[in-house]
């Protein structure tokens, strides 16, 4: 069924379908960031948008998920009017790389495969990904580009990571489960 190498799974197949999927994902990310979010801290909110890169990742692979999260964040900044924070866009893109890695460990949402062990790996990757992207990548770029904003970014990182982990685990797992069971056709058929 899947004869792709790990590298191919990582980069994804950049055909028309992937491009459309990433574009729709980015638009969905932008909309949810602005309409489906609950503000909890300055420029930080509890948002369901983080689910989108997970789904894009599940369908197309980690790199498309990262592009969807990064472009989506820039678009969200463009339509929300709270300034441009490209450090956060990069942080979100890196996070997308982690949380979108579903096909790498064998969870194929499109074929309805999402089991307990995938959930555990997914949860670990969410936590590690949040720690690396918001604890390391974003502050580094904040320091390089925005200088003095570092203290506030660290506060935002902590709040943002915690809220993202909550969203990714509490909402992400059930949503993935629903999507997987929706696609779980022909699972018990064998090739003869």
């Amino acid at each position: 069924m899947n004869k792709k190498t790990t590298l191919q799974k990582f980069i994804g197949v950049w055909n028309t379908k992937t491009i459309v999927g990433v574009a729709i994902g980015a638009a969905l990310f932008g909309v949810l960031m602005n309409f489906g979010s609950i503000r909890i801290f300055t420029n930080t909110s509890l948002t369901t948008a983080m689910i989108v890169p997970v789904i894009v990742g599940g369908l197309f692979g980690p790199v498309p998920a990262a592009v969807a999260a990064g472009v989506g964040n820039v678009i969200a900044d463009l339509i929300s009017g709270s300034g441009f924070w490209f450090d956060w866009s990069i942080g979100n893109a890196v996070l997308g790389l982690f949380i979108g890695a579903l096909p790498l460990y064998g969870a194929y949402i499109e074929d309805g495969i999402f089991e307990i062990k995938h959930m555990v790996i997914y949860a670990i990757l969410c936590i590690v990904g949040c720690a690396i992207s918001f604890g390391l990548v974003t502050p580094v770029f904040t320091y390089l580009w925005y200088g003095g904003e570092l203290t506030i970014t660290l506060y935002q990182s902590v709040v943002g990571s915690i809220s993202n982990i909550i969203v990714l685990l509490v909402i992400g797992i059930p949503v993935l489960k629903v999507l997987a069971s929706r696609n779980s056709r022909g699972q018990n058929l064998k090739a003869e």
Partner: protein, 280 residues
């Protein structure tokens, strides 16, 4: 409520008539210009330009007024939270503090702090106005053409273009799902429900939204394949036109501005030019 943001048909005013390349490049230069500094002397001219640009675009007043009020209120809340997170920003940026009055030992209000927060607020409003002008002036196709002229691979351009194009559709789906949920008796008014409940209800909207959005992928990608998308190494854009005299004038402006931005950033990095300005 959301339809005003993105227009698909080019308008008739000065800014509308510029080519996609000019709009995108001018916008990028202005955004970098606004990010690089908290200096009010640099921010206020752009703020005024943004207001002039907005008026010249002749937008539908009703919808623009709504989003402006929303953004101003949101930024004020942000500034307040920003203050609560660190009330000693004056010290950090200016190196000295003059106390105006104080609530507790930690929460003091200093002139420097107020000045910095004012600069920050105006900076946010200026960058909001610039992006609002940009969105109102550009069509998704021109956006892609402009990005392509900056040597971005055209598949990435297409992603940005399509994401931009589909925001109104997705926002409309979101509203429709929300209304149909309300018709089934789900309370979505933020004033009447608690935090946990609101999160749960956001999920109720999320799942159908995700499914309807991703169901579109097949149709769109088939349509694009049928039209031969992705076959060539390069592509050209129908919406892109050659340089008009106005384009050339704006080109001079953004090149000069770009040189200034580069010089300022070099000054910041190597010659210790301050990013803030405090006249008192």
């Amino acid at each position: 409520m959301n339809n005003f943001i993105i227009n698909l048909i080019p308008g008739e005013t000065f800014l509308h008539k510029l080519s996609g390349t000019t709009k995108v490049r001018l916008f990028f230069v202005l955004i970098v210009y606004l990010i690089m500094s908290f200096d009010l002397r640099l921010i206020v001219p752009v703020l005024i330009l943004g207001i002039i640009g907005l008026i010249s675009l002749k937008p539908k007043l009703k919808s623009v007024r709504y989003i402006i009020i929303f953004v101003v209120v949101m930024n004020l809340v942000n500034i307040l939270l920003y203050y609560l997170a660190n009330p000693h920003l004056g010290m950090l940026y200016f190196g000295h503090e003059t106390i105006w009055f104080q609530f507790t030992d930690h929460y003091i209000v200093t002139y420097e702090e107020v000045w910095f927060l004012l600069s920050r607020f105006l900076k946010m409003i200026a960058s909001f106005l610039i992006s609002l002008d940009f969105i109102l002036a550009i069509t998704p196709s021109e956006f892609a053409a402009g990005l392509y002229s900056c040597k971005v691979p055209y598949k990435i351009c297409t992603i940005v273009e399509m994401a931009f194009r589909y925001i109104p559709d997705i926002a409309r789906d979101y509203q429709n799902i929300k209304v149909s949920m309300q018709a089934r008796g789900v309370e979505l008014d933020p004033k009447k429900t608690g935090l946990i409940k609101r999160i749960k209800q956001n999920i109720l909207i999320l799942i159908p939204l995700v499914i309807t959005s991703f169901d579109r992928i097949g149709n769109i990608s088939n349509a694009m394949d049928l039209r031969g998308f992705g076959k060539g190494k390069k592509r050209s854009y129908y919406s892109e036109h050659g340089e008009t005299p106005n384009d050339r004038k704006v080109k001079v402006v953004y090149i000069l501005l770009g040189i200034f931005v580069v010089a300022y950033i070099i000054g910041r990095v190597f010659f210790n030019v301050s990013e803030v300005w405090y006249p008192f």
